[in-house]
Amino acid sequence: MDPLISALYGIPIVGLLFQFGGYLIAILPPVAPILLQSATPLVLAALCGVMCERSGVVNIGIEGMMLTAAFVGWLVGVIVAPMIPADASPIFGATPALLIALVLAVGAAVGVSLLHAWLCISVRADQIISGTIINIAAAGLTAYLYTIVSANSPEGAGNFIAFKPPPAVAELPVVGWLLQMFLNQGPIAMSVLFIVVGFQIWLFRSRWGLRTRAVGEHPRAAETVGIDVIKLRYRNVLYGGILAGLAGAYLSMEATNSFQADMTGGRGFIGLAAMIVGRWTPLGAFGAALLFSSSQALGQVIKFAPPSGDLGSVVGSIPGQFYDALPYIVTIIVLAGFVGRSIPPAADGQPYEREAAT
């Protein structure tokens, strides 16, 4: 075996690949929590997409909903924190101000999704145009208000902090880093796994899920068996707003404690790509989002803890901007490779009009 391995190492590319594999295995345990953290907003955005599109409403405005929630969460924190001063509680570092901000952030995203639902379902406007307008409006309004509020650099309400599992857990063999990945997290990131599994069961094993899928595939048939298509679509888009709101709140209240203009950075759209690659199922979307986020996490880690040896010199010669662009490049490649085999709900994007009663 030894001569074979040394011969393989002799081929430059193979040697580098071996080194890269070793590097990945070495960094995986400490990086594992970051994987789930960078996946959280993508997963929640993808679930918002699944929620809306399974019922037949295309939602391009997830990005705008996330941005709105991120801004409102931060703004409410800024306003409320001085009114209710409180020490961070031991549970996730939550304070009354943070909880109020979280509720209002999600509420704001639901408000925006109500606008989208009204335009798509009642006005029967083009759904992609409606989502785009929501994105433009949210980006403009949040940037405008942010320049005003941040002019005198106010104190925010801080952010949710990660739960620290006992060190013994991390040292467990094999499962240690997996537990670390799911336990060393703040409240929103930790709940993602439950939301994904719950949503998967709900969508495929419940009456609501069956109705949602029926409306997304063939609304006319669903209506003839007595399902209120309009009401169900409204409800699903509003539920989607909750998920997008959580994704936005995660960015400004858990991942960081501040807001920046355009801080979503296309995550809503990467979430949509994850939804398509995951074939419009919650579990599939979760897997795809993990794939996209691992490229993002890898880019971060290579910058902070570059590998050594030959691999290190190769990696070091690639400009840092490449790693910034990596998640977007991976998204395009995976999307182009998978989309042909991924079939959307049949009535996706089609406004529904009731037949006139005779």
Binding site: I128, G140, I148
Partner: protein, 370 residues
């Protein structure tokens, strides 16, 4: 007169309502300002400054024209996509790549005579933009990946490439900050006022060319047919896949030309903070004009005037230029909710809707062509 009302009635009502909402946003944002005495007249002050800064003097009018040039070119890019049933939300990335291509070539030919330097730099910018439009086109034609997602990803990739180029290969050697060399002789000559560059004429020319292409050529007919009904187009012997790739490349070319016009006409060099909202304004420009090339002149002028006047508005009324984005989005909201607007305001005889965009969502997610 009646015909004018039919065509422009709804946009005009939407613009007025957008300005009214903008006024309320100004009033609301006053409440957030610390140490600020609430003033009911601030919106009037702001809008007066906006108008003065955009059409108040000869210099202001030239500024408006200069700000309009990239909006018209990028607006044509989005509109051309709409005609083919494609949503080119990635005009921003094509715009950035076009600007980068123009500055890269412009620096090389900076010492050549203008008659050589300008066409070379322009061609490089247009080619770079076209390449950035070709990618989502070929991806859609081959794999069916929807252009809304791929072009957004390409926007972010373009930002990274630009940051790398300006701080790496194109950086002035020894400069402390990331900035490229001047494009020298490749800069557009001034044709009007102090800063009214040749791009104004180019933009007008492109409006005529795109209009001619769409309405007077076989290719334009095929593009419109594919947009209206891909199945019928295929049945008639047209090739939707080829047309999609070709149209996206042309969209990229136009958006790239918009970036070129800013580099060669206004900034003459590029820094890492080179980035505007042109690509997203372009969506508003195209929608407001209902994808009509000549209509884009007017909607481009409107948003160009707002961009040009925003500076004075910030100085005189302390209103951040981002307010323009809010007003723009509100105008679009009223346009998209046109059926409701017509009912509530009892507008008669106006043609509603956004035109030419009904086909966008239809192709979403699935293979639009087969």
């Amino acid at each position: 007169m009646r015909r004018l009302w039919t065509v422009a009635g709804l946009p005009i009502v939407s613009i007025l309502l957008g300005l009214v909402v903008g006024a309320f946003v100004i009033l609301g944002s006053e409440l957030l300002l610390p140490d600020h005495e609430f003033s009911w007249t601030l919106p009037i002050t702001a809008y007066a400054a906006l108008i003065e800064g955009s059409i108040g003097s000869f210099g202001a009018i030239v500024n408006t024209l200069v700000a309009t040039v990239p909006l018209v070119l990028a607006g044509l890019s989005v509109a051309l996509g709409f005609k083919a049933g494609l949503f080119n939300i990635g005009a921003q990335g094509q715009f950035l790549m076009g600007a980068l291509g123009a500055v890269a070539a412009g620096v090389i030919v900076a010492d050549q005579p203008p008659i050589v330097a300008i066409p070379v730099a322009m061609a490089a910018g247009m080619l770079a933009g076209a390449a950035w439009g070709f990618i989502p086109g070929i991806l859609k034609a081959v794999s069916g990946a929807h252009e809304v997602v791929t072009t957004i990803m390409l926007n972010y990739i373009a930002i990274s490439i630009l940051a790398w180029a300006v701080s790496g290969p194109l950086k002035v050697p020894g400069s402390p900050s990331p900035i490229t060399n001047d494009v020298g002789n490749a800069a557009f000559p001034i044709v009007i006022g102090d800063n009214g560059h040749m791009g104004i004429l180019i933009a007008l020319g492109m409006v005529v060319i795109v209009s001619w292409l769409l309405n007077r050529t076989t290719l334009g007919f095929e593009i419109r047919t594919v947009g209206a009904n891909p199945d019928a187009a295929r049945y008639a012997g047209m090739r939707p896949r080829t047309l999609i790739v070709l149209t996206m490349s042309m969209c990229g070319l136009l958006a790239g030309l918009a970036g070129t016009s800013i580099v060669l006409g206004v900034t003459h060099s590029m820094t890492s903070s080179f980035g505007t909202t042109v690509g997203f304004d372009a969506i508003a420009v195209a929608l407001l004009a209902r994808s009509n090339p000549y209509g884009i002149i007017f909607s481009g002028l409107l948003f160009g005037a707002m961009r040009a006047g925003a500076t004075l508005m910030q100085i005189e009324a302390g209103i951040a230029p981002e307010l323009i984005d809010v007003i723009q989005a509100t105008i679009l909201l009223f346009l998209v909710a046109a059926p409701v607007l017509q009912r509530v305001l009892r507008l008669r005889g106006v043609s509603g809707g956004l035109g030419a965009t009904e086909t966008i969502t239809r192709s979403y997610g699935r293979e639009a062509v087969s």
